[in-house]
């Protein structure tokens, strides 16, 4: 069991690292810790879509009713325009399930325990 847990943690760490690499491709518009053209991502897991203070969202996003979880992020990142018609995010999605999961692994650890978010 210990060996299995070690492997799982290693896999998870690797996903976060790979997700961080993938995230650099988001940094034209987003940063973890402050709002830019897109909203900041610290604390995204569990947050309501359109929920970052002092960021002006489209009505489509604000009214989407989405709570950001691994599942809803996965759906949105697959196809933003289909998930939230009217979003201003000029990105049609990440086709690779693996890459979406790695990016979500990175986004998920952007919480209050992360130095970037303090």
């Amino acid at each position: 069991m210990c060996a299995l847990a070690t492997v799982t943690n290693a896999d998870s760490d690797m996903d976060v690292r790979e997700g961080k690499r993938i995230y650099t491709q988001c940094t034209g518009c987003h940063s973890p810790d402050y709002n830019r053209t897109g909203p900041k991502h610290c604390g995204i897991l569990g947050r309501a879509a359109g929920g970052v203070k002092n960021f002006e969202y489209t009505k489509a996003m604000s009214n989407s009713g989405i709570i950001w979880t691994s599942a809803t992020l996965n759906q949105f990142l697959l196809s933003p325009f289909n998930t939230v018609p009217g979003t201003s995010m000029g990105f049609s999605g990440i086709a690779s399930e693996r890459e979406r999961q790695q990016l979500i692994a990175y986004l998920s650890q952007l919480d209050e325990r992360n130095a970037l978010c303090n």
């Binding site: 690499r21 993938i22 650099t24 491709q25 988001c26 940094t27 034209g28 518009c29 810790d33 402050y34 709002n35 830019r36 053209t37 900041k40 002092n54 489209t58 325009f81 009217g86 979003t87 201003s88 995010m89 000029g90 990105f91 049609s92 999605g93 990440i94 086709a95 690779s96 890459e99």
Partner: protein, 193 residues
């Protein structure tokens, strides 16, 4: 000559996100930014797709405004030496030119270009030395390059890919110059990832 000058800024860099995303601008927007007349270009697209184009282009304009503001922040910081300040103002000028073209395209699509925000939430507290400002700017440019690098192979329209590649090259030069100013290897590898 003026057309040649405008070719590299057919589309804003920051509207291309993700390594598997595709640009979703309609044929109308592509045609308008390629120099076609609005009457000819607009004849085939639905109003929905034009509204979508305006949203995407306005996101790009927003990013350009952010870049202008970021360079302004650096210029007014008092942290930049004269030579670096001149370069920063030159790059800022490029972003202003991008805004002019993008805003013109939005207008031709029947939309209204967004204005700059009155406030940008920059990490000002982290900017204490010239090196910090340069690192901040280099990060912005790197993000732009990554966005283009991931998007170019996915363009259906080869003219758009060509234009985006031209912009990527320009941004890569910005990034290299900023890295050089930071004392880093301006071209850290044979490939960019």
């Amino acid at each position: 000559m003026s057309n040649e000058k405008k070719q590299p800024i057919l589309l804003d860099r920051r509207s291309f996100l993700g390594n598997t995303g595709k640009i979703v601008l309609s044929g109308t927007a592509i045609a308008l930014m390629s120099g076609m007349s609005s009457a000819g270009a607009m004849s085939t697209d639905s109003s929905d797709s034009q509204e979508q184009d305006v949203r995407i282009l306005n996101t790009a304009i927003g990013a350009e405004h952010e870049a202008v503001a970021a360079y302004q922040l650096g210029a007014e910081s008092g942290l930049l030496s004269k030579g670096v300040l001149n370069v920063a103002l030159q790059f800022q000028g490029h972003h202003k030119e991008h805004i002019e073209l993008l805003a013109s395209t939005v207008g031709k699509l029947g939309g209204t270009a967004i204005d700059a925000k009155s406030y940008y939430d920059f990490p000002v507290h982290k900017l204490k030395r010239e090196k910090d400002v340069l690192t901040f700017a280099a990060g912005l440019e790197r993000g732009a390059i990554s966005a283009y690098a991931g998007a170019i192979p996915l363009f259906d329209n080869s003219d758009l890919a060509k234009a985006a590649a031209s912009i990527l090259a320009d941004e890569a030069m910005h990034w290299a110059i900023l890295r050089q100013a930071l004392g880093l290897d301006p071209v850290p590898g044979a490939f960019f990832s």
